[in-house]
């Protein structure tokens, strides 16, 4: 009887110790899209979704867990709320969970392109003075 009680106490202790860790990784209490935790040693937080303006960089330990995702940009940046302020974060810097499924990434190569090649340079040359032009 004493052994059963002792075993029950030990199991209880382990369960109570592992509970916070379990909940922090899973974030099951948070519904919808959520950032589970930081992934990279430093996490850059931006003011804009294009990632041009960096607000601050947080060390991995200081990044909060289970931060709800409040916005998503087409370039995959995630908007999270930290200490009441909204920031954008690059998804590769955090572990996150989406409620929906991510679309598949596929690539298709057109055969026959060996006989053709773009005879133009991308987005350059507008407004250049033209040799021999009338203007």
């Amino acid at each position: 009887m004493r052994q059963i009680l002792l075993t029950a106490v030990i199991i209880g202790c382990f369960a109570s110790m592992s509970a916070p860790a379990w909940s922090s990784n899973d974030c099951s209490a948070v519904q919808g899209d959520v950032v589970l935790e930081a992934r990279t040693p430093q996490v850059d937080l931006f003011n804009d979704d294009s990632g041009k303006e960096k607000a601050l960089t947080l060390e991995k330990e200081k990044f909060p867990t289970c931060a709800p995702i409040v916005g998503r940009a087409p370039n995959m940046m995630l908007q999270v709320q930290i200490d009441g302020k909204k920031y954008w974060v690059a998804p590769h810097m955090v572990r996150y969970r989406f409620a929906g499924k991510l679309p598949a990434v596929c690539r298709n190569l057109a055969l026959g392109a060996n006989q053709e090649k773009a005879g133009a340079t991308r987005g350059l040359g507008e407004g250049c003075p033209q040799a021999g032009a009338s203007h």
């Binding site: 990279t40 998804p91 298709n108 773009a118």
Partner: protein, 464 residues
């Protein structure tokens, strides 16, 4: 005439054949020798080395993260990207702990972009994590611009020469040395080309072969299995087909000679990492396998960027894969890639000189056999015609002719294979020997040296 022919010395036959071979090798009449050599190199890549003999050690150590039109479309990030976007990709790569990263974009222009510090910070992150990162320097810049933006160069990042030699419009060779862009190196030591420098830094256990001449690229055809999973190709009729070409050996032989385009695979040999997956921080096991502990080339495959090259086994391919293939060759051949020169006892021989020396034993054997057959025929003195029927005589003659050609062909092939296996000379630089050997055999059959000897003897006697 017959009497004169019987007195023809061995050295004369040898000299005539050597002269014919030397003219063909050295002067490349009508560009035919060159054409045969390069065509043979392409066919070898498609038929022999590519599908059967080329190892996968390099393929399993290299990946390419390529920004393509699909990437721009999916991420709604039009080209050109700002420095912050590049920093984001590089940071995502760093998270997978690669062996090294080579940035295949030229950052030459000092365009005003407030996000430049983010890229500089990213370079510092690589440096603090001790992951080598390489940038490419601009070459042939007409106004003396810096090879790399000074702000980026100031980080101390290694700058490499991305020059790619083009041979008849196709990427068949790769430079050993390149332009120097600063950095510390031993006095008088040459600066290495991109793939060579990366190989030297990352694989110090394999000492590099003698850096003379050029590397002859061997193109693999067994596409990385990961590419077959996520990349497909659409043919001219709109049908989808896999990157894993399933062509039997016989059909491959037929196609390689008669419909080369059908046997070429538009998918790259080295694994390609989807940049979209990289940027979304995917935990896909394939992605982890492709990025962790590999040398990663980061570049683009964009319409109008003019950064594409023809390869013998793929057709048009983003140039980033040419650098990747060069590094692949170096890894696969453990620092001793196929070359267009050979180095023996510290002396380097150009491929033409090597071919002339290599064909000498073939010529000697053919000459010896020719002299022996001439003398034997002279000793026989036509007895055999009485003993054998005319048909039999004709048949024997034909069989001997065939055997004679095949002997020459075999001798040439044996010498060529010896040069490849022992001295690393590329197929393209010796295959001419095989054809020339067969041609010399044909010359002996029609009695070219005999005729010349007879004519010269006649002229000398007349003069006396």
């Amino acid at each position: 005439m017959t009497a004169l022919r019987n007195r023809m010395p061995l050295w004369f036959v040898f000299l005539v054949l050597l002269s014919v071979a030397s003219i063909q090798i050295e002067h490349n009449p009508f560009g035919l020798s060159d054409l045969i050599q390069r065509h043979a190199q392409d066919v070898s890549n498609l038929l022999i080395t590519g599908p059967y003999f080329y190892g996968t050690a390099g393929r399993d150590s290299i990946s390419a993260a390529v920004i393509d039109e699909g990437t721009l479309q999916t991420l709604k990030m039009p080209w050109p990207w700002d420095y912050a976007a590049h920093a984001r990709v590089l940071d995502a790569l760093l998270e997978y702990h690669p062996k090294a990263v080579v940035v295949d974009f030229l950052f030459v222009d000092s365009r005003p972009d407030l996000t430049l510090p983010q890229l500089i910070e990213e370079i510092h992150r690589y440096q603090s994590e001790h992951v080598p990162i390489y940038f490419e320097g601009g070459i042939q810049l007409p106004y003396g611009e810096a090879a790399l933006r000074p702000e980026l160069a100031a980080t101390g990042v290694t700058i490499l020469d991305p020059t790619l030699p083009v041979y008849d419009g196709i990427a068949r060779q790769y430079n050993f040395t390149g332009k120097c862009f600063g950095g510390s190196r031993p006095h008088d030591a040459p600066c290495l080309s991109l793939a060579l420098q990366v190989f030297k830094d990352i694989y110090p256990q394999y000492p590099l072969a003698s850096l003379r001449g050029k590397m002859e690229l061997v193109w693999g055809t067994r596409v990385a299995p990961q590419n077959a999973k996520w990349i497909t190709a659409t043919d001219s009729r709109g049908g989808r087909r896999s990157c894993q070409l399933d062509i039997g050996p016989l059909r491959r032989v037929y196609l390689a000679f008669y419909d080369t385009a059908a046997v070429q695979n538009p998918c790259p040999y080295n694994a390609e990492i989807p940049v979209v997956s990289l940027m979304e921080g995917s935990d896909d096991p394939d992605l982890i396998a492709l990025a962790r502990n590999r040398v990663i080339f980061y570049g683009g495959a964009l319409q109008g960027a003019q950064d594409e090259m023809y390869t013998p086994v793929n057709g048009l391919l983003p140039s980033i894969f040419v650098h990747a293939m060069a590094l692949d060759n170096l890894i696969t051949y453990k620092g001793r890639p196929k070359q267009n020169v050979i180095t023996v006892w510290g002396r380097t021989l150009e491929s033409n000189a090597a071919q002339i020396i290599a064909i000498m034993p073939v010529i000697l054997v053919l000459s010896l056999l020719h002299i022996r057959s001439v003398r034997a025929r002279a000793r026989g003195g036509g007895q055999s015609t009485h003993a054998r029927s005319v048909t039999m005589e004709y048949m024997i003659e034909r069989v001997i002719q065939h055997l004679w050609h095949w002997l020459a062909f075999g001798l040439g092939l044996a010498v060529g294979l010896l040069l490849t296996l022992a001295l690393g000379l590329s197929v393209a630089n010796w295959v001419g020997i095989v054809f020339i050997s067969a041609e010399l055999a044909a010359m002996l059959l029609i009695g070219l040296p005999d005729s010349i000897w007879g004519y010269l003897s006649h002229v000398v006697r007349e003069a006396e």
